[in-house]
Symmetry: C2
Subunit: 324 residues, 2 copies
């Protein structure tokens, strides 16, 4: 089961598991849950069956424990995102805390504890932080979203400790370059300043060039989710929350990487227009990590910005990079 | 309002606030909530009115928002303790997580955000720990109780950040010497090996003399709760969870301190009989802290074991210490 399956990461994970249905055991069926109705694209022959479910996490929890076909692995991506959980306190807690708990409670009723992969976030960090976030850096969330993600991690760890799920949480970096359109996330510019100029469109950058971020490409994020799904298969000893490796980049470095692919013309489509509110949020996020556990467990980051942009062009623009 | 008011700490806090009703503003009324029916002892003249409530945390939450007399400060002590929350998973989450959340939700409905003091525990720590726990040591609970206490801290911090409560959490050390009888807590011997011999009774010590613990006397714990209640009055900047200062002692040091008060006869009433299960739990707890924030905020620990035992004798045995 994938929750939040209609999101961009859910769709990419679905495509990946369809093309290669080996995820620590062959995937026979994908139950794709999302509140947003999904297009019933025919799955390619030979891939896993697809069951599309339009519903919330309570509906997902009911499905989990179906006696005729118990779910054996859940990748829980569905969430009210940062700005949304901050604006609607009740909705954030209902989905991000109660929804996660409802899923875990359903898992607990199963005869065999299913794998449970929880997509957490670097938003669990905040406040006074060391210059480099290590695996033993104390999380101190400064948003309801970060609080709820951290509580989710703790629940997964406790249910796993009790043998109710085979659970692991991964803290995802900012995912860039995302396909699609800008959204209301404070981080949306991180993708926009690459994505829009490469398609001949203008983009606004609300933070100065020296602003640093911790990013991961969608391709690597999908690989990471597949890898943690395979890890969760075995009985896991040690910490159950993993900071995923990523890449520290500055906005200025992103601009120069864009120039190497799209030339000066692409770079000229970016307008720098500082927005103090966004700048305050973005600079409160950690940008440098030493994700020793994640590296030891075999998670990989993107080698450099050029690779990230090339992956975006190949996967989402459907064309090889144009000449500089 | 004091939840868990019938517990030994709740009773001592009630007595303290009755004798000295100044807690960052004069206490006019004490609403004493506990599932255990409480004796309606007449309050001394001139002290705060007492309202005894027999009920759970949902009942407490309903009371909080009474329109005729909104509560302006809550000291939330009620909890299913460690062994109980481990044995009854549902009960632990219902009381320790849902109960705490119900109280916070009730506070949120009030026109003026009340003070909210949450009694957390050093049980939030566990797993691989540094030799000395600092304020920035990452909690890694190894029990459902510790998980629920840590989630409570996070909820208090998020509700406080949003201005819904003026909230602070304090992580209490093992409280010793407790009055009363041994209970089922793994730590019960810490009090027993002082309390029972001083009353001419036998005590069993399940861990070897070199076992170290982080302790605080009931008297200092009550002072700490009163102090954090006063701190919560002001708008608080900075971390909202405070490791309370305590004292690192070994069982062997406790035995020698007992000898200084009760003589060899008292010490001979202790029988050392190792219990590997209890030893494993007790040695998994952190015993050394550097509680810099707590010290800076003016929390005090007991100066030494002799003072702890003298306080127990004075407060709970009702007699000055006898000759050695």
């Amino acid at each position: 089961m994938i929750t939040g399956a209609a999101g961009f990461l859910g769709r990419k994970l679905t495509a990946s598991l369809t093309a290669d249905p080996d995820a620590g055991g062959r995937v026979e069926e994908l139950i794709l849950v999302d509140q947003v109705p999904q297009d019933a694209e025919p799955a390619p022959g030979g891939g896993p069956r697809r069951v599309l479910v339009a519903g919330d996490l309570d509906a997902a929890a009911e499905l989990v424990a179906r006696e005729d076909a118990p779910v054996d692995a859940i990748i829980h991506l569905a969430a009210v995102v940062s700005a949304g959980a901050e604006a609607d306190f009740d909705l954030g807690y209902r989905v991000n805390l109660d929804g996660t708990r409802a899923l875990l409670e359903a898992c607990r009723r199963l005869a065999a504890p299913p794998r449970f992969v929880f997509a957490s976030s670097v938003a669990v960090f905040g406040g006074e932080m060391p210059p480099v976030i290590r695996d033993d850096t104390v999380p101190c969330p400064q948003s309801s979203y970060g609080t709820q993600k951290l509580i989710g991690e703790l629940l997964v760890a406790d249910y796993a400790r009790k043998g109710m799920v085979r659970g692991l949480s991964v803290r995802l970096p900012t995912i860039a370059v995302r396909p699609g359109r800008p959204n209301k996330a404070a981080s949306t510019f991180v993708s926009s300043i690459i994505r829009e100029p490469l398609q001949g469109e203008a983009a606004v950058c609300p933070v100065p060039p020296e602003t640093a971020m911790w990013i991961l490409s969608p391709r690597r994020a999908v690989q990471g989710l597949r890898h943690v799904l395979a890890l969760a298969r075995a009985d896991h000893a040690g910490p159950r929350t993993i900071n995923l490796p990523g890449l520290t980049v500055t906005v200025g470095e992103m601009v120069e990487a864009l120039r190497r692919v799209g030339g000066d013309a692409a770079v000229e489509r970016i307008r720098f227009e500082r927005d103090p509110a966004i700048e305050r949020i973005v600079t409160s996020w950690p940008s440098r990590f030493d994700p020793a556990l994640g590296r030891r467990l075999g998670f990989g980051a993107d080698p450099d910005l050029d690779a990230i942009i090339a992956a975006f062009v190949a996967d989402d623009l459907g064309a090889p990079p144009g000449p500089a």
